[in-house]
């Protein structure tokens, strides 16, 4: 049986890669994809804690987390869509106006 620390290190690695991608990419949609990567890393950590403590509350929390991630993707993509439609900008460092 693989120990708990392996799963946690897997989660930490994937979370760090997602964090780096969120910092260094310019595309707004790729930044949202990196957010999904970070969500999945945290879900792996929750599921591994649920497995190694022999209770199901971690899995319940993963269900809630998946639903909240879906909400976040909907609202984020709607904001990006409105931004691209109104200004034609899809890069994060060109957004420097609060009004047209």
């Amino acid at each position: 049986m693989t120990p708990l620390s392996w799963y946690l290190i897997l989660s930490a690695t994937v979370f760090s890669i997602g964090l780096i991608g969120f910092i260094i990419r310019r595309d707004l949609i790729v930044m949202l994809m990196c957010l999904e990567i970070m969500f999945n890393a945290v879900n792996i950590a929750f599921a591994s804690f649920s497995f190694y403590n022999a209770n199901l509350q971690g899995q319940i929390f993963v269900l809630f987390s998946i639903a909240i991630a879906a909400c976040e993707a909907v609202v984020g993509l709607a904001i990006v869509l409105a931004l691209v439609r109104n200004t034609g900008i899809n890069h994060s460092d060109e957004i420097n106006k609060l009004r047209d």
Binding site: I24, V30, E36, N43, V74, I79
Partner: protein, 170 residues
């Protein structure tokens, strides 16, 4: 399952998850990034299967691959984002961001390297007990979550729709 086989599969999933997440970041074309994200999500579902969470695996595939990723691809196609070579992929401070992430990972690794777990593991996870827990102890968060989903749906529609000014062409 044989422990050696399980270790080998776990190492495969570890390496492939790292490679796929790096590929999502490093891909120049956004559609390619979305495709790598699809394979990444399927691998995460397989890791859930390792942890005796079959229901989570199914929910991951249905919600993420069938919902969120389809939403991403739909948004990319609606926005008609072309590959712009005049822009660089990374921001100006990308090395500083990389160093920040590496420092974060090293500190987490030092913290997580000596984690001890209990002896009893989840023997058999059936969806029945998960459903009983979800609809007894977690009934109020479940209902609140339904309300949150409704609010996010309405908010997404209102943010992304065309305003009347756009429709009249003024």
């Amino acid at each position: 399952m044989n422990p050696a086989v399980e270790h080998a599969f776990f190492i495969y999933f570890f390496v492939s998850l790292c490679i796929l997440s790096v590929a999502v970041i490093a891909s120049r074309n956004i559609i390619h990034g979305a495709f790598y994200l699809l394979i990444f999500l399927l691998h995460v579902a397989a890791v859930f299967l390792f942890l005796n969470a079959e229901f989570l695996m199914v929910i991951q595939i249905i919600v993420y691959v069938g919902g969120v990723l389809a939403l991403f691809v739909f948004a990319i196609m609606v926005m008609n984002i072309k590959e712009e070579l005049r822009h660089k992929r990374f921001v100006k401070f990308s090395t500083a961001g990389l160093a920040t992430g590496i420092i974060f990972f090293v500190s987490l690794y030092i913290f997580l390297n000596h984690v001890k777990s209990g002896e009893n593991v989840l023997i058999k996870s059936d969806t029945t007990s998960l459903g009983k827990l979800l609809f007894s102890y977690y009934l109020l968060p479940f209902e609140i979550l339904s309300l949150v989903l409704l609010v996010a749906l309405i908010g997404g529609i209102i943010i992304a729709k065309k305003t009347p000014v756009d429709r009249e062409g003024r």
